[in-house]
């Protein structure tokens, strides 16, 4: 990329960010307008920057693509994992093993709630001996991560497990910490963090809702 193209790219991304906000507002479900209050925390460009930084941190901490596998936790973690995977593939110049993990069957609250919708688990590689980076969109109580580590164990014995999250909103109920964090976001328990990924990547956003 030449120097003269750079400003125009930044300019384009900026416009995309604004377009993302507008598109998000315009095409949102009807319920959106009845939310008491909401604020945009990350727009599409900011999400992309955060994921790019996280990918570089993952690459810095781990040597090569062969020993790394990304596993996105269904459902919000999967698009995060796919995007991290694409960025890491650019950095390393080779594809990075990526899978999807559903933790419904390993949750600790199954008899306290309506049964969750089970999403597919697809781990198309052997996790034994690999460094598995679990990826989720929002880290909150840590209970999902506990379930994910148990679920992952049924597929083999990873050499180590690391954790990457786009947003860490605090309020941990278990001794779990993320290794790679896109955005630290102090929240109140009544608040809700919504992460939306679009197919195209143009209207991604992280929104804080106060209900």
């Amino acid at each position: 990329m030449t120097r003269s193209q750079e400003p125009s790219l930044v300019h384009r991304l900026g416009i995309l960010g604004i377009a993302a906000e507008l598109a998000g507002d315009l095409f949102w479900e009807g319920t959106w307008y009845f939310m008491a209050e909401h604020s945009l925390i990350l727009n599409a460009a900011a999400i992309h920057r955060a994921l790019t930084r996280m990918a570089h941190e993952i690459a810095e901490r781990n040597e090569t693509a062969e020993e790394i596998a990304l596993v996105g936790i269904q459902r919000g973690g999967l698009p995060c994992a796919q995007r991290l995977s694409a960025i890491l593939a650019d950095i390393w110049g080779r594809p990075v093993a990526t899978g999807a993990l559903d933790v419904s069957m390993h949750r600790d609250d199954l008899d306290r709630r309506v049964a969750p919708t089970v999403q597919p688990t697809i781990i198309p590689f052997d996790v034994t001996g690999k460094t598995v980076v679990l990826v989720d969109d929002v880290l909150y109580s840590g209970r999902t991560i506990r379930a994910a580590m148990d679920a992952l164990n049924d597929f083999g014995r990873p050499r180590r497990i690391q954790l990457a999250v786009l947003v860490d909103r605090g309020h941990r109920e278990l001794p779990i910490t993320a290794d790679f964090i896109g955005k630290n976001l102090p929240t109140a328990r009544e608040e809700n963090v919504r992460v939306r990924f679009s197919e195209t990547g143009e209207v991604d956003e992280v929104v804080l809702e106060r209900t």
Partner: protein
């Protein structure tokens, strides 16, 4: 996506909505994948107790339920008619109450009396799952049939399903008829007029006694076992006559669509309702049905466990 299953029991197919049925089938897909892993067990029902109350003898359904429960990490008590105090004159209600006094969370019941599971659901706090009640319903069989068809054909809506055999005494037939009509298939029933009365037309299906016509257009041919044990007196002259008039043999198979699936809930009577070589041919999905039975029963226990949730939280 909103989860559409909030039931505490599974008593029949008749009362389920198409959405609830599809929720079970979708969930079962994930549980089938669990069965294909090296470690086939998940902790979803850890610490829960399931009583398999099989008052009427059963081998395959009981084994399927037992293995499903084990794969969900539940603790299991097996209770059969021969070994029980029902032989000593205890009533079903007292038997079930005693089991509940052991803090059973789920009761899977097979009983020769239609409505026995519904009765237990009224008098007990545990979740009740119907594993076959008299000639009424066998809902998990219908669910695994639908799962198998959906997996093979991609859909059920618009398919032509022919159920052939002993309809009158079959709980599988009743559950299947509810299931397939709810999901938008066209159901045809066929068999001797003594076993396939016209009254079944009121369940929304077509009744014919001409087997060639019944199977010619079918996408699914579901054969039912001739149930000697449930027939008070013979409803047809002989098994040989049944076999020659209604059995699926090579000559009849040649009339069917080349991609029609052959199903059977088992146990099969080779040479009666189906020729031996057809039971083993590539269009027969009889063994897939057995495998899928595990996935469907795991999914069901998983969903019913959640269905109990709100009441427990409120308490």
């Amino acid at each position: 996506m909103k989860q559409s299953w909030t039931r505490k029991h599974l008593l029949d197919i008749e009362s389920l909505t198409p959405e609830e049925i599809l929720t079970v089938l979708d969930t079962a897909r994930a549980f089938k994948a669990v069965g294909e892993r090296a470690i086939k067990k998940v902790p979803a029902l850890r610490g829960k107790t399931v009583v398999n109350l099989f008052i009427e003898p059963s081998t395959r359904t009981r084994i399927s339920f037992e293995l499903s429960e084990q794969r969900l990490s539940a603790d299991i008590i097996n209770f059969t008619a021969e070994a029980s105090s029902l032989k000593k004159g205890e009533t079903l209600k007292d038997t079930a109450r005693n089991l509940e006094a052991l803090n059973a969370d789920f009761i899977v019941i097979r009983h020769s009396a239609s409505g026995a599971p519904h009765f237990l659901a009224r008098v007990l706090n545990a979740s009740v799952i119907n594993a076959g009640d008299g000639a009424h319903e066998h809902p998990t069989q219908a669910l695994l049939d639908a799962f198998t068809i959906r997996e093979r054909k991609g859909r059920i809506q618009g398919l032509k399903v022919t159920i052939l055999g002993d309809i009158l005494y079959s709980r599988v037939a009743r559950s299947d008829i509810w299931m397939f009509t709810k999901l938008g298939a066209e159901v045809t029933l066929c068999g001797p007029s003594t076993l396939v009365p016209r009254t079944f037309e009121r369940m929304g299906c077509r009744v014919t006694h001409n087997v060639e016509e019944a199977i010619a257009e079918a996408d699914i041919i579901n054969l039912l076992r001739i149930q000697h044990e449930r027939q008070r007196k013979s409803m047809f002259p002989s098994l040989n006559e049944y076999s020659s008039l209604f059995g699926l043999n090579q000559a009849r198979l040649a009339l069917t669509k080349p991609d029609a699936l052959i199903m059977h809930p088992g146990p099969i009577n080779r040479g009666v309702e189906i020729d031996s070589d057809i039971a083993d041919c590539s269009r027969s999905v009889i063994l897939e049905q057995v495998t899928n039975g595990l996935a469907v029963r795991m999914a069901l226990l998983f969903l019913v466990n959640g269905g109990k949730g709100p009441q427990e939280v409120a308490a």
